[in-house]
């Protein structure tokens, strides 16, 4: 074990340029049950060895070196999993890093993790491609020029010495840090300075929630929300399934309450009250579109009503200036909340402290503290303190900062507005950036000390009180980067390695707090934690004061209500696939269709259909967004967003980052191709300049903006162009306006009849015309997707991309409807509202190859390049494919993807991300979901080697593994005990386009909404029954 430090810290030039990857493996997770100390040491032993190998695929032979000494237990090419912690955001989800030959390749959710419960979001899944990023800094920079650590350390120590002597201030800016070890070293680093401060700056912060708790509960804490305990869930704008605080955890918890069964037809009731269309809003039982300025008043009105029900009417009017347009909704809501008191939850994403105070008051009235909100065991997933940030800006402008150190956030990009810090930062005597790439602040900073990629570093995390997790490196750093912790330690005069610091901290602080039943000494505890990825320890009970009733003051909205009539209210949000600007260089995330808008590559201005019509703009028409004096106007293409409230303009943050022009030529280049990033521009526009500080918080909504139409047009790269399950009225056959692709029912109807909502298919149960000619006697692989659990979060899309080497094709190709994702999520707005969004069904439907038994693609291929396996898989033989595309034409689900070009694989470093188990397809061949056939085969081999049948659940497809909601079940339909078999018998089960008799192996479980039986639009119901009538005579397929 003593060799670890050498190994990790080594910056010796063993690397052959960027093509070399070193191996440092720690603790195999192959079979946790069997791992003991001995086994662990065996596995850990090979960490000594360093293997350098060239890229993959067609790498030149001379750089492909074998292991100098074969590590014990390592089998070349075999997948090895390491438990770790995801660093994509501060949520601290459990991570399982799949590595092969020393290359981390596939990020998976860590099963049984207390927070993420085996799920992982799209951002977490997309980490490998940012690891193998050839544009990452490979070493420190001194005034923009490559330097070495010795020089850097010397210069910085000297500068810090001066600052100490001159008693100047030191400011260290980071986003939320959940690592106690790192926090300790930050504290240690800052301690010697007279005026030193660690400023926590979250680009999208939840500062107001913490501040409100400071006022209502005398503790600046973020409660740990327990959505799984909430029967009634009311969210004011909080996109907890998408981006809010800890989406994977919340999705898992939410989905647990969304599985009504025949025996127990119960589920949670979820109401979303929001201005823009969020992913969470698309999944709500009831969605109310409101103007952002109404959020506070509505929260206030709700509190008034609940207070009345609670028998403690406290204020006559809590919300001054609230209109009563939603009285009915609020009355109902108050009643439902009160009926479910102690088992309900009200959350809000408002950055208005007053509103958050009232939210606290609501939860307090409803007795939710201690049940659905845990403040005593709080969450540390968001610690941003906006008032500190505001002070920093003042200090910087006033030229009062002596040293500015910035880690993990691009201060110049994310912190801008009516002021510009560029000049102020230029005046700071010592500026240090820890950015892995030359972002805007790094370009302005004197020193750039790049941090490792998370997959290269040791770290720990305490996302919530009582949960400690470890992150371990899964490969040797690719460049001469240095961990933030190590840099700080070096400058504190106590150089150490991250590994040493971590062990020391854990031995001193964590080990004593271990749970009582944890056996063994520290080494055993450490090894166990390393293997498990996390340890549950005694929570540090926070001191929470009693509810301070006096803190609740009437919400004065007068200030907000004074509006120019034609002004738009701005709502800034972060996208599901792009939580902050740290991910701006991740092509997988850029190409991930937004779960709601389905747009890829860049941000845009979302307008309600009514406003778009008023302004005379269509999708892609560029509009100019002006936000008053001192702020640079933004020009963004329009996106017409169903369900968005009128008078609202929604723009995603984290775009327009420096260096994103690198994606200009990301896709195939030919003479009609349009660049992904227009020449001289960046990918998207930086909307951070529209954030404003108000009342001690960074306000991401409410700012007034004016919109003007411009003459330019930039077509949006949208993967879905038609959004309704109702066919266009002008071409709709009578009685068949609606297509029952997504079946729905309501909870009361489901309780009465578990089969309610089923479309009547003509030949169900009738004899087949042809004999069963491909009986599957062995395995019969199948999949069941629970549409009621699926939130559309799109983690599976990136999981599939990573597992199956799906290429990134760029803006132009997506624009031409040629995205390559094998897995897509269809999103439908089933009846168009007027922008209010209440009378609209919104569905998400994951769609991939359905592996039909009567596959239309198979009969038409002239060269037998797509065939059926005896296990029920529809197999695509890339080698044999000549590319007639007939199969894709004949696919009713349009899930086949054609290699229109030879997609670029010139970046040899980036090619390391490719999964060697899956063929990289050449141009001119068809591809599609294989149901992760490589995993199926590996699972079968594994079972065979044990001489046992394949256990149910032993084989998981990539999409299934990552799904935070556990909406996807895969398995052997011939195995009577399998989960998939059980799901198939679920009365909610149906198959898409069953009437074609293609007999897909993928089935879906019908959506059940917890609404009144008759709230479905009468209109649609009529259509549905009409269509059924007409369907009776159809023999299609």
């Amino acid at each position: 074990m003593t060799q670890f430090p050498d190994n990790i810290q080594s910056n010796e030039p063993e690397f052959h340029g960027q093509e070399a990857v070193a191996k440092a493996g720690f603790g195999s997770m192959d079979d946790p049950a069997e791992v003991n100390r001995r086994r662990f040491l065996e596995a850990a032993g090979f960490s000594l060895s360093v293997a350098a190998m060239g890229g993959c695929g067609r790498a030149p032979v001379e750089t492909a070196l074998p292991f100098p000494s074969q590590p014990v237990g390592a089998i070349p090419g075999r997948l090895q999993n390491y438990a770790s912690t995801c660093a994509g955001c501060p949520s601290g989800c459990g991570l399982l890093v799949g590595t092969r030959d020393g290359r981390p390749l596939k990020m998976e959710g860590l099963p049984k993790h207390p927070l993420s419960d085996g799920g992982l979001c799209a951002v977490g899944q997309a980490q490998p491609i940012s690891l193998y990023d050839s544009k990452r800094l490979t070493g420190p920079l001194l005034t923009g020029k490559p330097s070495d650590w010795a020089t850097i350390d010397q210069e910085i120590l000297q500068a810090l010495g001066q600052i100490k002597a001159q008693k100047k201030s030191v400011r260290l800016v980071t986003p939320t840090i959940t690592s106690p070890t790192l926090q300790t070293s930050i504290d240690k680093f800052l301690a010697p300075f007279e005026d030193a401060k660690h400023i926590v700056f979250d680009a999208v912060s939840s500062s107001a929630i913490l501040d409100a708790h400071q006022q209502t509960h005398s503790a600046r804490l973020l409660p740990h929300y327990r959505l799984d305990r909430a029967d009634v869930l009311v969210s004011f704008g909080a996109d907890f399934l998408g981006t809010w605080i800890s989406p994977v955890e919340f999705t898992a918890a939410w989905a647990k309450r969304r599985a009504p069964s025949e025996d127990s037809p119960v589920m949670s009731y979820h109401v979303q009250i929001e201005s823009r269309m969020s992913l969470t809003g698309t999944n709500a039982d009831r969605r109310v579109a409101i103007h952002p300025r109404d959020q506070g008043p509505l929260v206030g009105r709700l509190a008034e009503k609940v207070a009345v029900l609670a028998g403690k009417p406290h204020w006559e009017k809590l919300a001054i200036g609230a209109d009563d347009s939603h009285e009915k909704v609020l009355d109902e809501l108050a009643k439902r909340l009160w009926d479910a008191r102690g088992k309900c939850l009200v959350v809000s994403d408002s950055q208005d402290i007053g509103t958050q105070r009232v939210v606290n008051y609501l939860n307090h009235l409803l007795g939710n503290y201690g049940t659905t909100l845990d403040l005593e065991n709080p969450s540390y997933q968001r610690q941003g303190n906006d008032s500190d940030v505001e002070k920093l800006v003042e200090e910087l402008v006033a030229n009062q900062v002596g040293a500015l150190l910035v880690a993990d956030v691009d201060l110049l990009h994310d912190l801008t507005g009516s002021f510009s810090l560029a000049e102020a930062i230029g005046r700071v005597p010592l500026t240090v950036s820890f950015a892995p790439r030359e972002d805007e602040f790094a370009a302005a900073a004197k020193f750039v000390c790049p941090d490792h990629h998370a997959l290269e570093s040791w770290a720990d995390a305490m996302p919530t009180s009582g949960l400690m997790s470890l992150a371990q490196p899964t490969l040797r750093p690719l460049g001469k980067t240095r961990a933030l912790l190590e840099s700080l330690a070096a400058w504190s005069g106590q150089p150490t390695t991250a590994y040493d610091a971590l062990r020391a901290y854990w031995e001193a602080e964590i080990f004593p707090a271990r749970s009582a039943d944890a056996p063994g000494d520290f080494l055993a505890f450490w090894e166990r934690t390393l293997l498990n990825g996390f340890a549950e320890i005694k929570p540090d009970q926070s001191t929470v004061g009693k509810f301070v009733a006096d803190s609740i003051k009437p919400l004065d909205q007068q200030k907000v209500l004074q509006k120019e009539s034609d002004a738009f209210s701005l709502v800034l949000y972060s996208k599901v696939g792009m939580p902050d600007s740290r991910h701006a260089h991740n092509p997988w995330l850029h190409e991930l269709p937004d779960p709601v808008t389905k747009v890829t590559w860049g941000n845009y201005a979302c307008l309600s259909p009514g406003d778009a019509e008023k302004l005379g703009v269509k999708n892609g028409d560029v509009i100019k967004v002006s936000a008053g004096e001192g702020r640079v106007p933004l020009e963004l293409p329009t996106l017409v967003q169903m369900g968005q409230h009128d008078g609202v303009l929604a723009i995603a943050l984290a775009y327009g980052c420096k260096g994103t022009d690198r994606f200009a030529k990301v896709g195939p280049q030919w003479f009609e191709a349009r660049p992904t990033v227009p020449t001289g521009e960046r990918l998207g526009k930086n909307a951070a300049s529209l954030v404003e500080f108000r009342d001690g918080s960074r306000q991401t909504s409410l700012a007034d903006v004016t919109l003007t139409k411009t003459k330019s047009h930039r077509e949006l790269a949208i993967t879905q162009k038609y959004h309704s399950l109702n066919v266009p009225a002008e071409v709709a056959p009578h009685g068949a306006e609606h297509r029952e692709i997504v079946e729905r029912t309501t909870l009361p109807a489901f309780a009465k009849d578990a089969h309610s909502g089923a479309a009547e298919h003509h030949f169900e149960g009738e004899k087949q015309l042809w004999p069963e000619d491909h009986e599957k006697t062995g395995h019969a692989w199948g999949m069941v997707i629970d549409l009621n659990k699926c939130t559309g979060c799109s983690a599976c899309v990136v999981a599939c991309q990573s597992e199956n080497n799906v290429p990134v094709v760029g803006y132009d190709e997506v624009r031409r409807q040629r995205e390559m994702h094998w897995m897509r999520i269809d999103r439908y707005y089933t009846s168009y509202g007027t922008g209010e969004g209440e009378e609209m069904d919104i569905d998400h439907q994951p769609m991939m190859c359905q592996h039909c038994d009567n596959a239309p693609c198979e009969t038409v291929c002239p060269v037998l390049a797509t065939v059926h396996s005896d296990e029920g898989l529809n197999e695509q033989v890339y080698n044999r494919c000549v590319g007639t595309r007939y199969c894709a034409n004949n696919c009713p689900y349009k899930v086949r993807r054609f290699n229109w070009f030879k997609y670029p694989h010139d970046d040899t470093l980036q090619n390391l991300v490719l999964n060697p188990e899956v063929t990289v397809r050449s141009r001119g061949v068809m591809e599609k979901c294989s149901m992760c056939v490589q995993r199926i085969e590996a699972g079968k081999v594994e079972a065979r080697s044990h001489g046992s049948p394949v256990a149910d659940g032993a084989i998981q497809t990539a999409c299934q593994q990552s799904c935070p909601a556990e909406a996807i079940v895969f398995g052997d339909m011939n195995d009577p005990k399998s989960q998939v078999r059980a799901s198939l018998e679920n009365p909610r089960g149906y198959r898409v386009l069953e009437e074609l008799n293609v007999r897909p192996a993928v089935s879906y479980l019908r959506v059940v909404k917890n609404t009144e039986e008759n709230t479905d639009e009468m209109n649609t119901d009529e259509n549905k029954s009409d269509m059924k009538k007409h369907n009776g005579g159809s023999h299609h397929g």
Binding site: W670, V731, P733, A736, R739, Q817, P856
Partner: protein, 484 residues
């Protein structure tokens, strides 16, 4: 052939002399030609060398071909992505062009084989060019299935040849494979039929040529033709047999092409009317193309005496009847869709008529059904310029018919999430242009080096009236019946 001609002529021989008859009624060939004159006229373009008009036409065609060649080369170098296709619309210009060109070919076979079997003598003036047109159209058509492949260099995998890949065989269930057989059979039979018909004329060219390359080549290909009764007898037997073999192809080839669509599950494709509908459409478009070519050729090659207004009018009638069948097919298709109760199919047809591609649909209906109705009017049929216009219109309409069938069916199928649009790229437009370039280049080379009209056949009908049935019926019925 000869027998039938003689027998058919027998009754007219006792009637007024040919010259007298000509003054009473127009003959098939105007200008009162003698056989020697025919030979001179038809061999003239070959012997005197190309005219300026020919050079102009040839350079235009060659330019188009060159543009197409560049486009195809670019596309093969970069990938199918240089076309406007997408994940939803997997075929568009490529297969549209393919079906269009295959369809064009059908009129040639109809004229040369079917009309031959039906003893339609007027065909002699146009059959050679029509057959040549068939051949070149099939070549153009054959190009598209190859270049539309993602990996055209592996096109030979479509052939069921013994290979070293174990038991790897082609998929006989796939309509694309049926296409391979249908098109290659068609090409082969058409080429042989055309060549056999050429032999006597090649011998004429050989005999008229001074020693030199032309004499050598013509001599080689005329296979030692000596004009003896035995040679004629053998020739006519073979010609008759080939006509018999070629006739079913008129129906089978486009039937099989239609199955590319009919066997699919896609609404708008999956329909049983397609085989007859496609055959009628093919003949319709082919006749239009024959007319286009004939009208150009008779001007450019000064063959007005041989391809007369009578020919044009007859062809117009044929085209009109085919156009009506096609119109009936459109209506039937629409009716069946609405009557079927299949919402997907109903939608596809409503979407054709009123969806984003309605312009293409209504272009098709106007060009193929409405405008050709003007041909009911005799003066229009006899107005060469007007007929030329109609023939172009029908060509355009028939191209759009295939485009409508292919693109509008694909672009909005079952799952609305996957609906997409389609816009062709410059490469696709250039490829279409190139296919016309190839066709006309081939055709102009044919006109320049090979007798464009079947001299041997035309001499047999020199003084024939355009329609012999009427006089035959009125004058003497019995011998006619025997001959038939």
């Amino acid at each position: 052939m000869a027998d039938s001609t003689q027998q058919a002529q027998a009754p007219t021989a006792v009637a007024p002399t040919a010259a007298e008859l000509a003054t009473l009624r127009p003959t098939l060939i105007s200008g009162n030609k003698t056989p020697a004159q025919v030979t001179r006229d038809i061999c003239a373009p070959i012997e005197r060398g190309p005219t300026g008009l020919w050079w102009a036409a040839f350079s235009v065609a060659l330019t188009a071909l060159a543009i197409g060649t560049v486009a195809v080369t670019y596309q093969i170098a970069y990938g199918i992505g240089t076309w406007g296709l997408n994940r939803t619309v997997g075929w568009a210009f490529d297969i549209t062009n393919f079906v269009f060109w295959v369809g064009i070919g059908h009129a040639g076979t109809l004229i040369s084989a079917v009309l031959f079997l039906f003893r339609q003598k007027w065909r002699t003036s146009v059959n050679r060019s029509a057959e040549a047109m068939t051949l070149f159209a099939v070549i153009c058509a054959g190009l598209f299935p190859v270049i539309h492949m993602g990996r055209p260099w592996l096109a030979f995998w479509m052939a069921p040849y013994p290979n070293t890949r174990g038991s790897l065989w082609v998929n006989f269930k796939s309509p694309l494979l049926w296409d391979v057989f249908a098109i290659s059979t068609y090409l082969l039979i058409s080429a042989v039929f055309w060549y056999v018909g050429l032999i006597p004329d090649l011998a004429t060219v050989r005999d008229r040529s001074k020693p030199g390359w032309r004499k050598k080549i013509a001599g080689f290909f005329s296979l030692g033709w000596n004009g003896s009764a035995r040679t004629w007898s053998r020739y006519e037997t073979v010609y008759m047999l080939l006509a018999g073999i070629a006739t079913p192809l008129v129906f089978s080839v486009h039937t099989i092409v239609s199955m590319d669509f009919a066997t699919a599950v896609i609404p708008g494709w999956h329909t049983t009317i397609f085989p007859p509908y496609f055959v009628a459409g093919a003949i319709f478009s082919g006749l239009a193309m024959v007319l286009t070519l004939m009208i150009i050729a008779r001007k450019v090659m000064q063959l007005e005496d041989y391809i007369t207004v009578l020919h044009i009018e007859t062809m117009c009638k044929l085209m009109l009847s085919m156009g009506c069948i096609v119109g009936l097919a459109y209506g039937t298709e629409f009716f069946m869709a609405t009557f079927s109760g299949n919402p997907y199919e109903q939608f596809v047809f409503f979407n054709r008529a009123a969806g984003p591609f309605r312009w293409a649909y209504w272009t098709m209906v106007c060009c193929n059904v409405m405008i050709p109705q003007l041909l009911w009017i005799r003066p229009f049929r006899r107005n060469i310029a007007f007929v030329f216009f109609i023939s172009i219109v029908v060509n355009i309409g028939m191209w759009f018919e295939r485009f409508v069938i292919i693109v509008t069916s694909l672009h909005r199928d079952f799952l609305p999430s996957s609906w997409a649009d389609y816009t062709p790229t410059t490469i696709e437009l250039a490829t279409l242009l190139g296919s016309f370039g190839l066709f006309f280049t081939c055709f102009l080379i044919f006109c320049r080096f090979i007798p464009a009209i079947a001299m041997a056949e035309i001499k047999g009908v020199l003084n024939d009236p355009p329609r012999e049935r009427k006089p035959a019926k009125s004058i003497e019925d019995a011998p006619q019946g025997d001959a038939a």
